[in-house]
Amino acid sequence: MTNMLYSFTGLILFVFGLFALISCPHPLRKILGGNVMSTGIFLFLVATSYRTDTASIDPVPQAMVLTGIVVSVSITAVALVLATRLQQSANRAMNRREKKNEGGAAEG
C-alpha cells in the first residue's frame, strides 16, 4: 500500500515540476521546478523497491537515486550561474538605459 501512495506522490511531484519548468517565466522558478521534478522521479523509483522487512530492500535504486541527486545538483548549479550571468547583463543594460534617459532628463 505504501508503495502505491509514495509512487503516486512521486509522479504528481514529477508532473508539478514539469508544469513549473514549462510555464513559469522566471528562470529561478524553472530551475526549482526541475529540482522538484527530479526529486519526484527518485521518490517514484525508491517507492517501487519499498519492502516492510528491511533485510530484502533492493539497494540498487538507492544507489541510482544518490547518483541522480548529485547530478541534479550539478545541473542546478550550472543553470543558476547561467541565469545569474544573464540577469546581471540585463540589469546592467537597464542601468545604462536609466542613466542615459536620466542624463537626457537632466539636460532636457
Partner: protein
Amino acid sequence: MDSAMTIILTGFDLLLSATLLWLAWQLLRSTDIFKAIIFFICFGLLMAIAWVRMHAPDVALAEAAIGAGLTGPLFLAALRKMERKQKKERRFDPEEKRDNPDKRWQVRSREASPLMWIVAALTLCFAGLLIRTVWIIPRPLPGLAQQTAAHLGASGVDNAVTAVLLNFRGYDTMLEVMVLLLGAITIWSITHAPFPPRLPDTSPVQKSAVRLLLPLICLTGGYLVWQGAYQTGGAFQGGAVLSAALVLLLISDFLWLPDMHSLPLRMGMVLGPLVFLSMAVLGIITENALLRFPPEQAGAFLLFLEAACAISIGLSLAAFFAGGRPASDLREKPYQTDQPDTEKEGS
C-alpha cells in the same frame, strides 16, 4: 500491537504526502521568488523524512545534506546576485519585495493565459496516464536484492548501497563524479567569482561561531566517509558536509576566493576523479577488467577512493556556491556586479 503501528504509519504517510504536495503547489503559486525558495528548503527537509520512511537512510542523508542543505543557499545566493542594485544600499527585506521596480519577473497575471490552461490540462492527463500505468503494472519483481546480497561479501564493504555504488556499479559513480567536476568546470568557464559586497563589519559572533563549528563539521564529515563502509554514509554525504564547512568560510570572509590562486583548488577538485580513473586503469592492468578491485583488499581500496572523492566533492560543491573561478586565475580584474560588461555584443 503492529496493527496499531500500521495505522499510525499510514496516517503519517498520508500526512507526509499531503504536506509534500502542498509544499510543491505553494512553490509554484507563491508570488514571490524568495518565498518559493524557502518552501523549497522545507520541501527538501520533508523529503529527507520521506526517504527515512522508505528505509533508505543513505538517500535521506544525501537529500538533507545536498538537496536541502546546499541547493537552498545556492538559490538564495543566486537570488541576491540577480537583485538589481537600487540607488540606495541593496535592499533585502522580504516585505518590501512587492514594490520592487523590476516587475518583469513576478508571476503577474493571476488569471493564467489560455496557453497556460492548455499546458496544465496536458500535464494533468499525462499524470493520469502515468498513474494508470503504475496502477496496472503487476506487483513489482524482487529486483536485484538477491544478487547484491549474494555478492556483498566479495565487495569489501558491508553497507549494501555503498557496495553497489562503488563496486558493482562503480563505472556509474566514476562518470557521475565526472559530471560534478564538469559542473564546476562549466561554472568556472562562464564567469569569475564576483567580489562579495563587503558588509561594514561581520559580527564577532559569526566569526567565533564559525571558528567553533569548523572542526566539528570536518570531524563529522570524516566520520561519515569512514562510516560509509558498514553503515549509512559515504563519499557523497561526507563531501557535502565538507562543502558546508567551505561555504561557511566563504560567507564569513575567512576565504577571499576572488584572489586565491586556482592551482590548489584545481588539484583538490581533480583529486577524486583522478584517483577513481587510476583505480580503473589499475583494475585493467592487475585484474584485467576495468574498475575491478582485488577481492581481499577491496575494502581498503574503496575507503581510499571514498576519502579522495569526498575531498573533491566538497571542493566542487563549494565552487558551485562561489559561482565562478578565482579572478586571479586569468589575471583579470574581478568585476563588480554593475561594471560595464566585458563581452562584446554579437555583431
